[in-house]
Subunit: 332 residues, 2 copies
Amino acid sequence: MKVSIFDVARKSGLSVVTVSRVLNNSSSVRQKNRDKVLQAMKELDYHPNAAARSLARGKTGIIGLTLTTLHDSFFDAVVHEINGRLADHGYYLALSVSKSYADTIHRPLFEEDRVDGVILLSLPPADEGKFINDLTKKNIPFIMIDNSNRNPAVTSIIVDNFRGGYEATKHLIDLGHTEIAHIAGPADYLSSRERERGYRKALEDAGLQPYAVERGPFEIPFGYQVTMNWIAAGKLPPAIFAADDYIAIGVMDACMNEGIRIPRDVSIVGFDDQVLASEFRPMLTTMRQPADRIAAMGVDLLLAAINDADARRVTVQVEPELIVRESTAARR
Amino acid sequence: MKVSIFDVARKSGLSVVTVSRVLNNSSSVRQKNRDKVLQAMKELDYHPNAAARSLARGKTGIIGLTLTTLHDSFFDAVVHEINGRLADHGYYLALSVSKSYADTIHRPLFEEDRVDGVILLSLPPADEGKFINDLTKKNIPFIMIDNSNRNPAVTSIIVDNFRGGYEATKHLIDLGHTEIAHIAGPADYLSSRERERGYRKALEDAGLQPYAVERGPFEIPFGYQVTMNWIAAGKLPPAIFAADDYIAIGVMDACMNEGIRIPRDVSIVGFDDQVLASEFRPMLTTMRQPADRIAAMGVDLLLAAINDADARRVTVQVEPELIVRESTAARR
DNA sequence: TTGAAAGCGCTAACAG
DNA sequence: CTGTTAGCGCTTTCAA
């Protein structure tokens, strides 16, 4: 039933060692024999057993990646890129979804030598320490993407959110706006804090004051609610920088429902460049996070950590990019 | 450095066999000895090596699940449920994302005995056959969720989309509408075809004619475009059943941009109950697919297939449910 | 109730 | 260039 390396050896008239060699592309196999082995493998429809290889080699060829949700186009883009790049290096990606550390779902993946390395993607800020602790103790190489707690002992990749907040705000200022509000994300996210800091700095550099600042979750209903409140109070800002595309979409939704035109009456900038941002009309002006660069750096750094246990820990920043679409216009 | 079952045996003064027994909850271990072993494990921070266990037992304890995107709240809900249920049975879920079979990304997961079973979630219709073929040949138990090709030899779970399409349309009819259009999904999806069939049947039963039927991808821009075309042609239907929430949202977006009120001027029903459907105003009336029931059935059926190689293949249907929200109103 | 011994399928020295 | 010999860490007979 099960065909093993042994069957291939017998069938090809060579030893298991030779078979193993062709399996691993060892150069020291006579072409003729290699062909024989390959032929036997094909005829037997042989596929090596992953567990046996892992056990013998002490590595699994699998990289684990943690995810908090399967409902985010930015994650989708990052993971897609990582997948491809890892494959180029002979590694496979296994994803594990779980809202939080307490769920305990992905711990077993790290605790039984199932993976050669781990990528921690946008963890809940409060959980970061626990993951770092577990992985460090287990001596599993890992990197973090978009983490909130600075930690020089951990290799991480973060977007320059200060710069992003600055540029987004600057774009509005350049359009002639002077009354610019900000809807910030949760305070425990470094990204929220940095985007807000960028917003404030840009205003300061232009000699302006914040028009208003609200803070809440990265969700459509929050942006909607804030906007409805502003409208009800009769002080809807003519320009808004939202910390996140979902918040921005909530803002647009509220405006459209109230008959307020975008960008004629209100200009709005989001952050992340979710696909929703460009599917919706008016299409949202936003700061794009470069998923491809993030993925590329992530894979490189993780592989470096795997291949050299004491590779230097670094924190790399990647620059976001302003994507101007239809939701912003000059002040009237 | 690495602590193995051997170290635990030595430390506890018992044999590896006994340690293995407590690891597997064998009842035949004197409580006293069990405690000693447990104690030793704790002190050594021992965790069994997954590869070794898999090799010795011939099974991995991992269930693979294929995904085409990480950007869908329905998938998110289904996977979340599956995750939990599988954990209850001692299995862990490993996800693999790939847009299509050709990507080849998840095949290695199936080809090297890395998983004990597989769940194929909403595959591209054209790829179904290839996956079935691969898995069948490798003799790996699997089930399909939301597949498009009927295949009595394969265990699958599908939503009763005919019923869904019927009820959605009936809802509009009950509201007094007589001019009801349908925006269908891609023809190669069984779900699209069935929803449309349900739509036509409901109209027929009410003695009505289809007002219009358009067909295209399950995407916001498509719904938007169709609607804009209708508006331009001066024949926007007063009631629309969209095959999917994204299409429906595109319709709403177009209407709002054109100053057409929903549900006053146009009633619209979607399908899937994506979270977006209830985050947007007006909140969308839609057909909910019961993620929890789908997940529960999926896990049960897969485990049955794993535990009994010739368990009967079945196709189970689950019923969708009409969720009435704000996007539909009585005909004026 | 416990343990000795024999694998699970593959790779890694080490010879030849 | 090829094969022999040991394991990798755990589970599984089979005896005791």
